[in-house]
Structures are given as structure tokens and as C-alpha cells.
Amino acid sequence: MSSPADARRAQFEREALPHLDTVYRVALHLAGDRSEAEDLAQETILKAFRAWQQYRPGTNAKAWLLTILRHTFINGYRRAKHRRETVDVHEIEPFTVFREVQDVDPEGTFFARIVDDEVLRAIDALPPDFRETLVLSDVEGLSYAEIAEIVGVPVGTVKSRLFRARQLLQKRLYDYAVEMGYIRRGSP
């Protein structure tokens, strides 16, 4: 026999739980540690379940969960090693990998040879603000407006962080690929 509480749980499992993978992956990049990410993801989901009556069915459950995740992280999980130092986007030297590879590998096939763990390491080496924006966009596919809302910054800031984050990440991946001999360094 089904009670209102059962119906509520069923709805939560149907609309919120499918986003657990996303919540976990973003938690992993925020916390930088597997067991901490699991705790963070679990706390986020249970907190969301308790607040489920505040969620309007049919709206963006993923963005709602990620907002809760972010608050949970900032309020309790922030560790010294992952302190959110802010980086001035203009202080980062512009670097376009395409310019380096256009003669030797214009289609970027070297990317495919880089192993998963190295990709995750490269993402985690990004400054926190950039990492967060890049993960929400390039890994989880959120729109600029969704990211702006979750992170609490203007859309223009999302754009500029994303631009620099992609340049930085591509450079790290490129340097790694050169080091591993997957691609030879292009003549400048």
C-alpha cells in the first residue's frame, strides 16, 4: 500500500536520482578525493530529499541538485588544499594549442591517446574557479545560464572562465602528449 511518503520517495528516485552520476563527478572535482566526494554526494542527495517539497516538478532537477552540492561543499567540505583562491583571468598567458598542432595534427587525434586518469588529473590541476566551470560545461553539458545560476556569477564571467579553462586544459593535455611522445612539438 502506498503512502504519501512512498509517493514522494518514488518521485525523488525518478527525477533526482538519475543525476547521481553527475553529482558524484562534480563532487569529485570539488573535493579532489574519492571518499570525500562520496560523502559529499550522499549528503547532497539526502539534503535534496529532505528539501524535495521545494523542488517544482518538471524544472531543472540537475541544476537544483548541483546548487545544493555547491552549498554543501562550501559550507562544510572545503579543505585547505582545495581552498578557492581566485585567479585573475587576465593574468593567464593566452595559449592556443591549435596553433602548435595545426601542421602536425590539426584534427587533434593526439587527444584520443591520453588515458582517462591523466585527463582527470589535468582537470584537477586547474584553478578551482576554472575547474568548476569547465566541469559543469564540458563534462556535464550545462548551459552558460545554468552555470551562472549555480555558481552565482554573471554569464560573462562563465564565458571568460570557460575560455581560459579550456586553453589551460588543452595546454596541459598537449604538454603531456608531447612528453609521452604521442605528438611531436610543432615548430613555432
Partner: protein, 87 residues
């Protein structure tokens, strides 16, 4: 600023390429960028490279989901841990 009547130049296409790939441009600007990419070999090559990067990253970084043990633990909490505010 590009309008539907004036085609986009290389500089503008390079500046807006990420917004184009992210499907964040107004339809008119998107058309102008697409039109430029169809005609400019250099911008098209850059576009192909950035597109390859995005596909690669999405596929790689999404490869790992939540551990099954975490999923089980959460389901267990949802089933057993009755919400204190529920009747």
C-alpha cells in the same frame, strides 16, 4: 557586431567559436558564423580541432559514474531513514 546582412570575419568567428560550439549564440549570429566556417579553411580547421577536444573531453570525463556502493548506500538511506518531517 555581426548581423544577418553582414558576414562574420575571421576575428569575430575566432572570438565567438566557443559560444558557437556551445550552442549559445542567437540564431542570426550562429548562421553568420556557420556561413564563415563554410568558406574559410583556416577557421574551419580551428573549429574542427575545438570540436574534437570537446567530444573527447565529454566522453573521457563522463566515463566514470558514481560507485555502485554509493548508490546502494543512498537507496538504503532513502528507504530506511524516514524523513523526520513526514507524517
Amino acid at each position: 557586431m555581426t548581423t544577418p546582412d553582414r558576414p562574420a570575419g575571421c576575428r569575430e568567428v575566432v572570438d565567438r567559436l566557443y559560444e558557437y560550439l556551445d550552442r549559445e549564440l542567437d540564431p542570426a549570429v550562429e548562421r553568420a558564423v556557420r556561413g564563415h566556417l563554410a568558406e574559410c579553411a583556416h577557421c574551419f580547421a580551428l573549429h574542427r580541432f575545438e570540436d574534437a577536444y570537446r567530444r573527447f573531453l565529454e566522453a573521457r570525463a563522463q566515463a566514470k559514474g558514481a560507485p555502485p556502493e554509493l548508490r546502494r548506500r543512498i537507496l538504503h538511506h532513502l528507504l530506511s531513514g524516514r524523513d523526520p518531517e513526514a507524517p
